[in-house]
């Protein structure tokens, strides 16, 4: 009997402690928020189709991009892969029956929902206009919108990712099956482990920052407003101390997903497995030391800027190791272009472009020109949307048979992957050029000479919207009409493919014993 048949009532879902069911609860919630954030993006792109501010007012526009950022960052991207695929797969991949703390796991979902309610409340009563970054003193002294309510929502949702991270760390340390040594763990587990460390160490700093911000706004005493003796730079330091590592919360699990998919559909063991592990830890570690590159023009010390610039360049080393290793895995592989593989290859290309343009922004002199332009927007959308969302969708397709027990339609899957890839590039590549030409972010009007590129971008957004709606249709259809999936439809390696699709409540009929390296796709792989 599969975990899906353990109970059919709503109550059996809402009171579950099964990590697989919690993953599905999370998937439903974040999908809803994805389309809320997407709706805001749609209006933004419609407004920017013309140089005049003719669709919405400047105030509404400010609220729209704030809503888009807040929802997409904290309610979609941060929980996306860890809370859904991670929750579902991490225990299975290490041969465990459960996460270490099942009750904390369901609690984390309820905390997420509570935070979400605050943000939706903020939206209903009139929104926030500070941008997702909540920069002071604007957010504490001048904005007339619902900053505190939004901050409370983000504060609350932070604890859901802390609890998920705590659970994953303890699970990986304590719940591994006999024989599952650290260097036999799949890279997806490594990636989620490193992500969890970031969640646990960075998120509380954001929480305290938001407490300070709310206190300053409510009491008019504070440490961020220069008029009161405070320092806005302190806010930026505290904010980016979380929000830069948060980028790695979004992209590391994506790298984990892509590693699993590429090695499977190249039919070849991942190249440089240990270096992939070290690179994951390296990115997580360096990620804590580079936050100041968001502040090159803020007036922080020039010497601090130089150090942050150098450290930011160093993040490129482990990131490049990963890209090279994926490429080397493909080399002489027997590549199968399934839908998950198309998403994964799309990730590699888009992540590379996003990463390389990150180096432009890490160079102080160039950054002075590019700060607050569309170049920045294009850069981080290449990482977060081109990277994380592509990988998330790839992972959803790859593990769909395992999670649901049904096969989706492969042709539709490939078509959606190609549409999303094309739509994404059409949307965001013009923004690199716009930014380089000097178009600033966060304005609802722009000079007429930028219109052609903006039209490309808006047209691309329409293509992207179709691409994102398609999976809802054919994946939804497959839930009811898709052919039954076998335990291992991709002939993949890894413990999750050794149990039935969908897995039983306790994941395995008999406790698994591990005695080999991961990804033994080519038979000549030597034992560990």
């Amino acid at each position: 009997m599969s975990y899906l048949e353990e109970g059919f009532t709503l109550r059996s879902w809402l009171t579950t402690r099964d990590h697989k069911r919690i993953a599905i609860l999370y998937a439903i919630a974040i999908t809803a928020f994805f389309f809320v954030g997407g709706a805001a993006a749609t209006i933004i792109r419609l407004e920017l189709a013309t140089p005049q501010g003719d669709l919405v007012t400047a105030d509404t526009y400010n609220k729209l991009f704030t809503l888009h950022g807040v929802v997409m960052v904290w309610f979609f991207l941060i929980p996306s892969i860890p809370a859904t695929l991670g929750n579902f797969l991490l225990p299975i991949m290490i041969g465990a029956r459960e996460v270490a703390f099942p009750r904390l796991n369901i609690l984390s979902w309820y905390i997420y929902v509570l935070g979400g309610i605050f943000v939706l409340y903020t939206l209903i009563v009139g929104g926030v206009d500070t941008g997702w970054t909540f920069y002071t003193p604007f957010s504490t002294m001048f904005s007339n919108t619902h900053v505190v309510e939004a901050a409370i929502g983000v504060f609350i949702v932070g604890f859901s990712s802390i609890l998920t991270g705590l659970n994953f760390i303890v699970t990986v340390h304590r719940m591994r099956a006999p024989g599952m040594t650290w260097f036999r763990m799949p890279l997806f587990v490594w990636a989620n482990y490193a992500t969890s460390i970031i969640m646990v160490l960075a998120t509380p700093v954001l929480a305290m920052t938001l407490v300070l911000l709310s206190a300053e706004r409510i009491l008019h005493v504070g440490i961020f407003d220069p008029a009161l003796g405070g320092d806005p730079l302190l806010f930026q330091h505290l904010f980016w101390f979380y929000s830069h590592p948060a980028v790695y919360i979004m992209v590391l699990p994506a790298m984990g997903v892509v590693s699993e998919i590429i090695t499977c559909f190249a039919r070849k063991r991942i190249f440089g497995y240990r270096f992939m592990c070290y690179a994951i830890l390296g990115i997580a570690g360096f990620g804590f030391l580079v936050w100041g590159h968001h502040m090159f023009v803020s007036g922080q010390s020039m010497y601090a800027g130089m150090v942050f610039s150098m450290l930011s360049f160093m993040v490129a080393v482990p990131s490049a190791i990963k890209v090279f290793n994926w490429t080397a895995t493909l080399y002489k592989g027997s590549i199968v272009f399934t839908a998950p593989m198309l998403y994964a290859l799309g990730f590699v290309g888009l992540f590379t472009i996003g990463g390389m343009t990150g180096l432009y922004l890490a160079s102080i002199a160039l950054d002075v020109h590019l700060t607050d332009t569309y170049f920045v927007i294009a850069h981080f959308h290449y990482i977060m949307v081109g990277g994380s969302v592509m990988a998330y969708l790839g992972g959803i397709h790859y593990w769909w048979p395992k999670v649901t027990g049904r096969m989706y339609n492969e042709a539709w899957g490939r078509m959606a992957a190609i549409i999303i890839f094309a739509g994404f590039n059409l949307t965001f590549f013009p923004q690199y050029i716009l930014g380089f030409l000097g178009m600033p972010r966060r304005y609802h009007e722009y000079p007429p000479e930028f219109q052609v590129l903006n039209l490309f971008s808006s047209a691309g957004a329409a293509v992207l919207a179709v691409g994102y709606l398609l999976p809802l249709v054919y994946l939804g259809w497959s839930l009811f009409r898709g052919p039954r999936a076998s335990a291992n439809p991709w002939d993949a390696r890894g413990l999750e493919w050794k149990t039935s699709s969908p897995p039983p409540k306790d994941n395995f009929v008999a406790p698994p014993q591990v005695d080999a390296v991961p990804y033994a796709y080519n038979p000549e792989v030597p034992p560990a």
């Binding site: 459960e98 270490a100 760390i169 960075a202 509380p204 305290m208 009491l219 504070g222 003796g229």
Partner: protein, 210 residues
Amino acid sequence: MSVAAPEIRPAAWREQTVSLGMWVFLATELMFFGGIFMGYLYLRTQFAGEVAQASRHTHEWLGTLNTAILLTSSFSMALAVRFSQLARRETVQRLLWVTAALGAAFLAVKFIEYAMEWHEGLVPGLHFTIVENARTTALFFFLYFLATGVHALHLTIGIITVLWLSWRLRKPPFPDARADDVEVLGLYWHFVDAVWIFLYPLFYLVSLAS
């Protein structure tokens, strides 16, 4: 704390798992308080003299008394952990009562102090009457109330949990799982104590440095 039941695990498995969970949680907590300490660091480096002067408004004898009370509570908590390893249920239960009582005494002194500070007009944003170095003093007390308030909240949660655990120990048996709970709660209690060890000099004793 509920932990997924393992198939075959050694006896120490549960203890090590719950205490790892607590250590990871304390790492989160440390970073949470870190935000306040960063704010303090900024204030202290920018306005060293004014911070020391503002600190003279605190009631350092009450702060010292509270430090003694909290350290003693940590002592009784440490004893409770030791006796739980020896499975001395009744002793553990009594020691937990002592720990909770000392924690409550700390809170009582803290609230007397808060009341005095309210009457002295030291509460920024609500009732603040200090004129000399008004802005820096307001900032200092803003951080003071935030830090000690968050600390008091943690202590309150600790007291409630200690009382709850002591209630669960009111009659036998005394399984290993309860002993693990005492140990893990002890980690939390000592952490809350350790935070105070830092808050005490930063807010009460910094006046001596001027």
